[in-house]
Amino acid sequence: MMSDLNNGISRRSVLKGAAVGGIGLAAGGSLLAGCGDKATGPLAYGARSVDAGPTAQNEALIAAYTAKTKNEVKYNATESNAFQNNLSQYLQGTPDDTFEWMAGYRMQFFAEQGLLADLTGVWDAIGDQYTESYKIASTGLDGKQYFVPKSWYPWGLHFRKSMFADLGLNADNVTNWDEYLKMLDGMKKKGLVGFAAGDKGGWEAMGTFDILNARINGYQFHVDLLAGREKWTDAKVTEVFTYWSQLIPYMNPNVLDLEWDGAMQLLLQKKAGSMLMGSWFGGNFKEQSEADYADLSIIPFPEINPEHGRDTIDAPIDGWCVAANGTNNDGGADFLKFAGDMEGVNATLAAKDANGALIPMTSANSGQDTASYDPFQKEQLAVMAEAKYITQFLDRDTRPDFAGPVVGPAIQSWFKNPKDVAKIQDTLQSQWEALPPLA
């Protein structure tokens, strides 16, 4: 039978510790009790990105850890897609001791299969630096923790302040659907792509589905739909596609030819006016130039149904796990005690990119002083703070053999034939029902 998915996280205010006021542990971080008392030996670190920014951050973090504990850390980075495709084999075979992963069912699934090490000890040591909701997000289906959060980012509407200024637009005036469409109209008349979209990878557009579903039908319906308690053939889902198709005239024509970075390029080159995306790409803008990064801005996706307002947001959490089949579980846990503590967070925050500038990161740790956030990060915080409910993203919140193989292609085929909504809904529902029991 379907295991009960612990989808989504409901919390009143996610960043109670870190939002307005910057309470909690300020500079310094907690003392790590007993850290460094026993040498835990060399360990291996598995990174799931080969990009310059994250690599610099990891190097800074590892350098700080090695300096403190004299434990050797071997760094093993794999390109993101290859890492994800290989994860199951990796965890069974020769995993690194600690590796980067994501919260949500994606993590709980592997924990349930016995491939992740229990990190309750780590949480005992540093748990007080995180809000309750992060702990919930790091908990497996059996109630134990298997994940240490690192950073988060919101999915929201991104735009360039300079373009808005040129177009005479005010971001405060884009709070609901009608206003948004009017804005897109204006952009289209000026020859711009209003809503940059790329779905070649099959997952990018899930963000749009998530937000539209949450806006139109509310958080509870969204969560229930992904857990199989609601049907994909429901008229509510049809409404999502109806609203989505209103965006099509304002999209770039080659949606299925661009991946997320292609859509980002449209924004970067000032060819597109807005883009719904996770804010991680801020680092890429910054690598381009400080001016580009300073020009970047984010607002919550507009309200559609006043009943739900803008109460839900996708805000995936990235972090680390320890692999049960690694050779040095203790070493991995020891590393995470450091990485999750303010000491590790500060070391990461001190990392510099190729231009010598600091790399922006929104840490999950309550100790990061949000007053030190740059303007873009403060905006991300504001977007998050406004939301009552947080979800992780479709492919992290539902069964992996449904998200990637079924929902991804279904959305892509909708882009090919937007009129085929009924057929697509039927397919989604029948394939959900045909899913084999989890084994």
Binding site: S88, V255, D257, A434, P436, A439
Partner: protein, 304 residues
Amino acid sequence: MSSTAKDITTVSRRRAFSKTDRTTLSAFVGVPLFFHLLLVWVPALLTILLSFTYWSGISISRIKWAGLANYKNIFFDTPAFWEAVKNNIIWLGWFGLIATPIGILLAYQIDRQIRGHKFYETAYYLPVVLSLAVTGIIWNFLLRPDGFVNGLFGRDIDNAISFFGNYDINIYVILTIASWRHIGYIMLLYLAGLKSVDLSLREASALDGATEWQTFKKVVFPSMKPVNIIVIVITIIESLRAFDIVYIIYGSSAGFPILGTLVFQNIAGEGASMKGAAYAVILFVLSIGPIIAYLRATFKSDVQ
């Protein structure tokens, strides 16, 4: 005395093999056979068995019998499967009716040693020598939204011709890239086979006043029967097995489904299930026919 195979047979049957000889022979056959069976045939059988189970590929203790459920799921509940079959059929049609014939005709012309044939032989075969990873990168440069071809048409990233994303044309784009490689391969195979065609036959046909085309059609082609069969079989198998090019361009996303990527998508990654094994078995079953035809054609004389 003139020896024949039969003489050797009788000779070797008459004298018993010494103990060392027997050990040597057993080792000579046994060791390779062991590896081949262990890493090819045993896993193949296991995968066939696994296709009848529910399993995420992780804990062996969790394997559950599923009977035909995976297959039912594929045939009745997975529209992507039928899309993939359609794509593979188009692939087969393209290779069989366009790419392979071009390869054959190219081989014939080059064999006739028309002007520049040495250069042509190299040029057309070059793509075959490249790794598919390199091929993917090369064609990406040409066909990206900000690549060469779009630039030629004066288009940029926002209004580019969507070579890989436009599902009306992308299959032909992929097939062109695949043919870029396939044609050279077939050409060389056929060239090799043409060397064995009796030159005098061709000269006789020319003297009889036949055009080159008639010579090819009526004299050369029929005499190449074994090579023809091999070329046909390779065409079919390559169309069914196609995977690398599509994986390089689309990653593991199911945007452009063919049987090969469906297998990969369902056995790699977090969504792994034995549906992937079932896909692999279907692929295998479809290949059995051509494989047997190949074996028959190649080993006919041995079996007699």
